[in-house]
């Protein structure tokens, strides 16, 4: 075999493996779109077909929007995820700055604790947090959805690792120029850390937009429910699961994430190329 042919073969194998992986990841989504586009009769028909014979996506969407106040759920999701992310940044950036750039007694111990906290699954602390919120009297409110997540140890860790790469001279220059320590966090570190903040934003928003567990525990009122709870509505109907509108609703609630991700991905790459540190 000539080297050229061998290279082609290697490349072909690589592509086949990657495509197979992509297919596995995409199948549920494709199935969701397919189901959302089928009328009820086709969903339960015994022959498997991806392309619906009758295109019923609009009908399913109409039913979905009629049955549940999807706009309300989307708005709730937006309020909750942005508040969580905003507060997380507000806490994580100063903490990460202190852990990476200030010298004080016990810094390394504190950082070790932060790393340790990453290992604790949120379910493990769910009951104490629930009781705490109960004592505070804020169960069944936006506060109950937001407050437990304002301190993100993962965010602190991520930002701290990024801040480590910011040259010390830059901070010293800022001090010479008369910028205060908090000023350094917001005026110097934040702008240089935009790519890291964006990456953290993706993680945070995706995790809390899709969170099913916590809202299910702390919420009773329907008008506060977040998108994943909305999908559950369609399942619990007395008439049995109505899969067409359910899948249509699922499509609606992941659409903002997909759009936001595509948008953030561009910002992400832009951010990396723009911050010309060095």
């Amino acid at each position: 075999m000539t080297p050229r042919a061998r290279m082609l073969l290697c490349s072909a194998i690589r592509h086949i493996v990657l495509h197979a992986g992509a297919l596995v990841m995409l199948t549920p989504f494709i199935w969701m779109v397919s189901t959302a586009s089928k009328p009820q009769t086709e969903i339960f028909s015994s022959d498997l077909h991806l392309i619906p014979y009758h295109f019923a996506l609009w009908d399913n969407l109409r039913i979905a929007f009629a049955k549940a106040d999807l706009w309300r759920y989307l708005l709730n999701g937006l309020i909750v995820t942005t508040s969580i992310f905003g507060l997380q940044v507000l806490v994580a950036l100063p903490a990460a700055y202190a852990l990476s750039k200030l010298r004080f007694l016990g810094r390394d111990v504190l950082f070790a604790l932060v790393v340790f906290c990453i290992l604790i699954p949120p379910q493990a602390t769910a009951i104490p947090v629930f009781l705490l919120l109960h004592k505070l009297g804020v169960l069944d409110s936006y506060a109950a959805l937001v407050l437990p997540f304002t301190i993100s140890v993962f965010g602190i860790f991520l930002m701290r690792q990024f801040f480590k790469t910011v040259p010390d001279d830059l901070i010293d220059a800022a001090r010479m120029d008369g910028i205060s320590e908090f000023g350094i966090v917001w005026r110097v570190m934040l702008p240089t850390a935009i790519p890291a903040v964006t990456a953290f934003g993706i993680f945070s928003v995706v995790a809390h937009w899709n969170d099913y567990f916590w809202p299910l525990i702390v919420l009773n009122s329907e008008h506060l429910q977040t998108p994943p709870l909305a999908v559950a509505h369609f399942r619990n109907n007395e008439a049995g699961a109505n899969y067409g509108p359910l899948m249509a609703a699922a499509m609606v609630i992941i659409a903002p994430l997909v759009i936001a991700f595509l948008f953030a991905q561009r910002r992400f790459i832009e951010g990396i190329t723009l911050t010309g540190i060095k």
Partner: protein, 385 residues
């Protein structure tokens, strides 16, 4: 305009002493260079002066007032960093304007959105704009004001960093190896520019470098630091001619000064490699080092000392001949002013030096006072014996 006094300054990092008692007075308007090998504590000293690092003991006084506990910005010193340390997200204009905005605008006026509505803000911004543009014109970076630091060459970033320092009219400038990231040609050019800037501003300049050519050419005084101690401070020529310590003698001057093993005899005469030098010293009998600069070594056909040429460095205008000889650890380097006269590699050459060229140091590296006893009949100047 500031006189800076450093008294018995010590600094330790986690028990490791980096500055071991530095005393230095920097006069108002002086251009002083701190030189020394890598890791000797130059940057640390500069950072203590700037207030970025607290000292372990000792004192820094600026214009007679103790600077202890005074915040870096309140000391009104400006610093130019080796890495330039420009804010990557701000334009050149904004980079230069930052120190002015921090000084002249209140916190409310600087706030992102509200600031614009504050009454005094527009007038202050106009004055800042004028100041930045004046400095930019002075440094010839006016066309670059809208660019981001990432879009500038090293030399241009250097100028922006200098601009950010001079715009606030500080009492003194601190430079930490500002030219070491530039290529050789630009470095020579910027050297002249910084010297020119000093003549213009007449402010105190403290300039850290490990490049002694830079220090020798730019400054009125150099201070040589080695291992956390300030060994000698003085005019460049004086430090070069009269080093008080063998480490200073070896650090200042390229190629390095030649060191021969020597002895002080009981009658006060010096000898090296079996030859008695025409020199006397009051120092007690014992081992010593006899040091001679390369340009003071003279090649001669009838050798007083002799060795084989092991290496040649021809720089075009001058050449350095490395002579390996028995008794010295490193080859002896001699400068030849006329490169066409250099001997071939492997040739045996004789060499010698005049007694005036000798700087002698004792075993601890301290300078030994020497004198040349007058002789009745003086044979040749360069005679060794």
């Amino acid at each position: 305009m500031a006189e800076i006094e450093i008294r018995a300054l010590r600094k330790a990092f986690d028990g490791a002493e980096v500055l071991k008692g530095v005393d230095l007075t920097i006069h108002d308007g002086e251009f002083i260079s701190l030189v020394g090998p890598s890791g000797c504590g130059k940057s640390t000293l500069l950072r203590v002066i700037a207030g970025l690092e607290p000292q372990s003991s000792g004192e820094v006084r600026i214009d007679g007032a103790s600077a202890d506990g005074v915040r870096p910005s309140a000391r009104n010193l400006a610093m130019v960093f080796q890495s330039y340390a420009l804010y990557p997200h701000l334009s050149v204009f904004d980079n230069i304007a930052v120190p002015l905005r921090m000084k002249r605008l209140s916190a409310l006026e600087r706030a992102p959105f509200v600031g614009r509505l504050m009454p005094g803000r527009r007038r202050a911004e106009r004055v800042i704009r004028d100041d930045v543009e004046r400095v930019a014109a002075q440094l010839e970076i006016s066309p670059l004001l809208k660019r981001k630091p990432g879009q500038l060459s090293g030399g241009q970033r250097q100028r922006v960093a200098v601009g950010r320092a001079i715009v606030r009219q500080p009492r003194a400038f601190l430079f930490d190896e500002p030219l070491s990231n530039l290529d050789a040609k630009l470095r020579v050019h910027m050297r002249a520019e910084i010297a020119q800037l000093h003549r213009q501003l007449k402010t105190t300049f403290i300039y850290v470098t490990h490049d002694q050519a830079e220090a020798m050419t730019m400054s009125g005084r150099i201070a040589v630091m080695i291992g956390g101690e300030l060994i000698q401070a003085g005019a460049p020529a004086a430090v070069y001619e009269d080093p008080c310590d063998i480490r200073v003698a070896e650090f200042v001057g390229t190629p390095k000064i030649n060191a021969f093993p020597g002895r002080i005899r009981s009658d006060g005469r010096l000898e090296t490699l079996g030859h008695v030098l025409h020199m006397a010293t009051p120092a007690p009998e014992g081992e010593c080092r006899i040091c001679v600069r390369p340009e003071r070594i003279e090649l001669a056909s009838q050798g007083l000392l002799s060795g084989t040429v092991v290496h040649l460095e021809n720089l075009g205008s001058e050449a350095f001949v490395h002579i390996g000889s028995a008794g010295t650890d490193a080859p002896v380097v001699a400068r030849v002013n006329d490169p066409s006269q250099v001997p071939a590699i492997g040739a045996t050459v004789g060499y010698g030096f005049a007694p005036e060229a000798v700087r002698a140091f004792d075993v601890d590296g301290k300078r030994i006072a020497t004198s040349i006893p007058s002789r009745v009949e003086r044979p040749r100047e360069m005679a060794v014996v």
